[in-house]
Symmetry: C2
Subunit: 333 residues, 2 copies
Amino acid sequence: MTVADLAEPFGGRRTLITGGLGFIGSNLARALVVAGADVTLVDSLVPAYGGNLHNIAGIEHQVHVNVSDVRDEHSLRHLVRDQDVIFNLAGQTSHLDSMRDPYTDLEINCRAQLSILEACRAGNPQVKIVFASTRQIYGRPVRLPVDESHPIAPVDVNGVNKTAGEWYHLLYGEVYGLRVSVLRLTNTYGPRMRVKDARQTFLGIWLKLLLTGEEIQIYGNGEQRRDFTFVDDAVAAFLLAADEEAPAGAVYNLGHPQHVSLRELAELLVELNGGGSFRTIPFPADRKAIDIGDFYADYSKLERELGWSPRVPLREGLERSLAFYRDEGEHYW
Amino acid sequence: MTVADLAEPFGGRRTLITGGLGFIGSNLARALVVAGADVTLVDSLVPAYGGNLHNIAGIEHQVHVNVSDVRDEHSLRHLVRDQDVIFNLAGQTSHLDSMRDPYTDLEINCRAQLSILEACRAGNPQVKIVFASTRQIYGRPVRLPVDESHPIAPVDVNGVNKTAGEWYHLLYGEVYGLRVSVLRLTNTYGPRMRVKDARQTFLGIWLKLLLTGEEIQIYGNGEQRRDFTFVDDAVAAFLLAADEEAPAGAVYNLGHPQHVSLRELAELLVELNGGGSFRTIPFPADRKAIDIGDFYADYSKLERELGWSPRVPLREGLERSLAFYRDEGEHYW
């Protein structure tokens, strides 16, 4: 099923997306708008994060934009009321920033999550909530591919706080009956991702460097293997998990059958771009300390239970990303 | 070795105890004072927590008391400087309070822990830190006894936040080289525990009810089995873990070879007290939702690596507790 098919059941329904002006949030909003959903986007527009008004270019009159911070529990209490579904995607995503300023990461990835859940418990206990978690909570894999039962052992403050945020969701489901589900995302990429820097994904800054004629830098030997999810596939997973029939309290990995090394990824990008260069450089110490090595996920549970599978091959996803930033890069540099 | 033997190496050394006017902190302070250590106690004296000035009766002139809250990062920054060892015991301990007011639990069990670690990283990176964690982070056991590799799956906000607090410690050890170790405590009891209510341990309120002639209430059928650590044994574990030779980055369970049901415990208490009564009542809903069932720990790692074992049998520990509160209960009711 296409994203459009999956969005269809949300026609006429009230949906709230936290982090709605960000990368995945805005792509999800586009699908929901096409389906005729009532879409409210909450976003703080903090410059270091993923929110970008250009992300809703063309749909700006079909969504409600509410600029506020998920740390602001009062605005949240109002906003969650009467929603049918909350896609909870707001987060601080930079691992390095979480080490430099652990408090802000805590406020957003822990405290704000409690606020959202408390607001739902008090004002909208029937709402369906899909929480954007991350493969980062697994830390350095002790086995590959990593399935949902892999030990949780985060290696940075962001990973610890995202774990807490995820567990609050599961806990509020267990104790108060909130209908939550959790998606553990891995290296999502595609149009509308942050490309100014590596705060959202290293692939963002790689694309920008390539398109602006600068050299890509790979930390280490480039042999670290990873899996990548094109944003349309991530959006499909959010829609499936938000379905009325989807089980509550479930946790799902996303992933992709193609596991490539960072060096192979850089080679592919240079090829698709018809030019460009990369080189490996030694790991900066602060990054090395929190690097997780090889990672790829076992996403068979999501496949089995909700019928999800990644539809966009890496090559196609990268081509579509390059095309997007070639045209619209000026709004993202 | 006795607690006095174990405290001896700390003579002349500078030690800081957060939560130092509390139950375990004040017992630890007594051992360190006898050994001739320089002892600073930080405590917020928040009424709902374990701090009680009577806990240092008799040693009040041999310790430095600094009344401040671990949430206050400025006082911490000053206090951690020049310390040789920090025993980090300050915490919000009530599971129910954490569900009613998750934000306060977060501030103390997460944010303040980050403050302490940041203060050490910046101002005292050589310090040895022993963190008081809890068996609560394991949640409902999937196997018994629970060893340190048991999955972490907390069932309440307190458990989630204590997990984060513990993991920050391990992370700051890993990334910044801080010399941390972690003790996962289970049902610590003894003189100077909070007995006003069940906020620190249910055994506290049981003792008070018994000594004031009221009936003990056991939730459920009373068949839940637990292990109990007498406070002197807990103090011994903190001293062992703080030793210069003890490995950094290690996590240890505490536990006890006697696993008793709550009903057996109540029977034993009534017997030792020479009177009293108890009855089982249905679980209140809010407690049932976060109850963990049977729990007892495998503490063989602490035994093997640091030579710790529980020296005080349950009967003796309960007798000593009853004797203490019979004499000094008025300061604790």
